[in-house]
């Protein structure tokens, strides 16, 4: 084929993609921009990206009886301090980290040995168990949310960390992914470990786990992204107890609490919640895209 660059075509393609990119980035731009600007600038859509950053007075601060000079601040400072003082944002973030990490660790503890047994051990009923895994892949999480909610309510576990974690402890997808990965690991490796007198438990955690790191990483990205962003399940099982809320749920409460148009603090809180994943994504883009698409069948 001819290797001549079609500059007009190239230009047109970039124009189309650029127009798409502007629409895609619009809310991210607005989120950052609103989190920096004063209420007046937000409402009148003026001030460009960062606003004029003129000193403004925090009315809540005056109401609290503090001296006026302490209540004068730049909009950016106002928005971010209000975000952290009006809602327990740090608590939400810590809850988010605790819940996502716990889910991932338990998923691996359950899935890895099972995947090893399904790929490398021969036992009666192995195909039945694998069939069960495939069958469970078909069950969408939204379809079992209601009965799970009833079961948790019956044992008095709604409004606990356990309620946020327990339903996700089993990842049939994780088992499937690990099993496919272990199928490619040579049997010689395991035989050699057995010759060295390693127990089956030691083989799982000291031989198989290290070889599975690439697959675990992909699965980890999938799992952490899914559960950090999950809103549906926390919304179902956490009612009212703010100490247990995860970032998306906390943000939702923040939104319904706001009187009037406190867009600035709201957008500052949104930025704080969205940013961690976005930054990690930009740093490890290729792995993220691979991880999410590889696990896309979910």
């Amino acid at each position: 084929m001819m290797a001549r660059t079609n500059w007009l075509g190239e230009f047109l393609k970039h124009s189309v993609l650029l127009a798409g990119a502007i629409v895609v980035l619009l809310p991210f731009y607005l989120m950052l921009s609103y989190s920096l600007k004063s209420p007046a600038e937000i409402e009148s859509n003026t001030g460009g990206f960062v606003g004029s950053q003129e000193i403004m007075t925090d009315r809540r601060c005056i109401k609290a009886g503090k001296p006026p000079e302490e209540c004068d601040m730049r909009p950016i400072v106002y928005n971010y301090t209000a975000a952290f003082s009006e809602a327990p944002l740090v608590r939400y973030m810590l809850n988010g980290v605790f819940v996502t990490v716990s889910i991932f660790v338990i998923q691996v503890l359950v899935a890895l040995p099972c995947a090893y047994a399904l790929s490398k051990l021969k036992f009666w009923g192995r195909d039945v168990v694998f069939g069960l895994v495939i069958f469970c892949l078909l069950i969408p999480v939204h379809a079992i949310a209601l009965p799970l909610y009833i079961m948790l309510a019956k044992v008095g576990l709604t409004n606990t960390y356990a309620a946020l974690i327990i339903p996700w402890t089993i990842s049939v997808f994780g088992i499937f992914l690990m099993r496919q990965f272990f199928m490619t690991v040579p049997d010689d490796l395991i035989d050699a470990a057995r010759m060295d007198g390693m127990s089956e438990f030691a083989i799982v955690w000291r031989v198989m786990l290290p070889t599975a790191i690439p697959a675990l990483l992909a699965f980890g990205i999938f799992s952490v992204v899914a559960h950090w962003n999950d809103y549906y399940w926390p919304r179902v099982v956490i009612t009212g107890n703010r100490d247990l809320m995860t970032p998306p749920l906390g943000l939702r409460m923040f939104k319904s609490d706001l009187d009037g148009n406190e867009y600035g603090p709201m957008m500052a809180a949104t930025t704080v919640i969205v940013l961690p994943l976005v930054i990690i994504f930009l740093l490890a883009q290729r792995r993220f895209i691979e991880g999410i698409t590889m696990t896309g069948m979910k």
Partner: protein, 317 residues
Amino acid sequence: MGHSRVHLWFIGPAVILMAGLLIFPVFVAAALSFTDYNLGNPSFNWIGVENYDRLVTRSTYKKMFTASLTYVLLVVPISVALGLGAALLISSLRIGGELYKAVFFLPVMATLLAMAIVWEFALHPIVGVVNDILRTGCDVGWLHALLSGSWLGGDPLQSWYGHACAEDFPLWLGDKDYALGTIAFIGIWQGFGFNMVLYLAGLTSVPRELYQAAHMDGADSAWERFRLVTWPMLGPTNVFVVTISSIRSFQVFDTVEALTRGGPSKSTYVMVYAMFEKGVKQNLLGIGSAITIVFLGFVLILTLIQVYFVNRRVHYA
């Protein structure tokens, strides 16, 4: 003896959890869908198919099915087409492809609920930036003429844009004629980047020689190459992308709960939201379970269609 029993320790926890947390709940939902069960009430009655009867006769649930199906029919074709279009453009670029790929994938990663709240601000009828931009266009003579069609000699007031300039732009989420479309727009915005990376992966697996062969056979234009080589070779990817998108859009919840709560006048009352509202908020677990079972049925049908198409392809190959 070695590993004669040890496998029980390995598969045991997984099997118990699968049975208890995935399979048992499906049976619970199926059983409860024939009752008037609610939490806090010690007893319940078997009421036969009454819940299902309500699903097919009450107008609320008719609106629910309409909203869910319309949403899926809006989001799936558009997000699949945009995903494919973006993938084709990006893969044919000399430079900058990686950058666009990262940008389009960003919404897939970002917390949907948070971004939905940003879109709500952007779409605010008065202070929102979307209507602000649209209004600005009204005052620019040539843009107004172009968008309202008056440059073709039409009456500007007859067109959507010209009419909106004269009256005002829609309330978007607050207008029952626009709310579902707006929610669908956010869904497309969020999901097409996911389809794009699936298509990019599909495109790399098209053998280069096929393009050379097509070239020898006289297929010179980009369109001919696409029609004769790319499209047929993307068959399996298409099936996969369409099924995934359909299942994902059937599950829409975050945007609806945060922005419209099923309204206005139930125009965005999609299935998963209805399940949540009936089952969790109103404690009507019988009807909630019935919706759950119908929802499960839809998803299983979609999956079976996918399996059918994938198997057919394998047999041909």
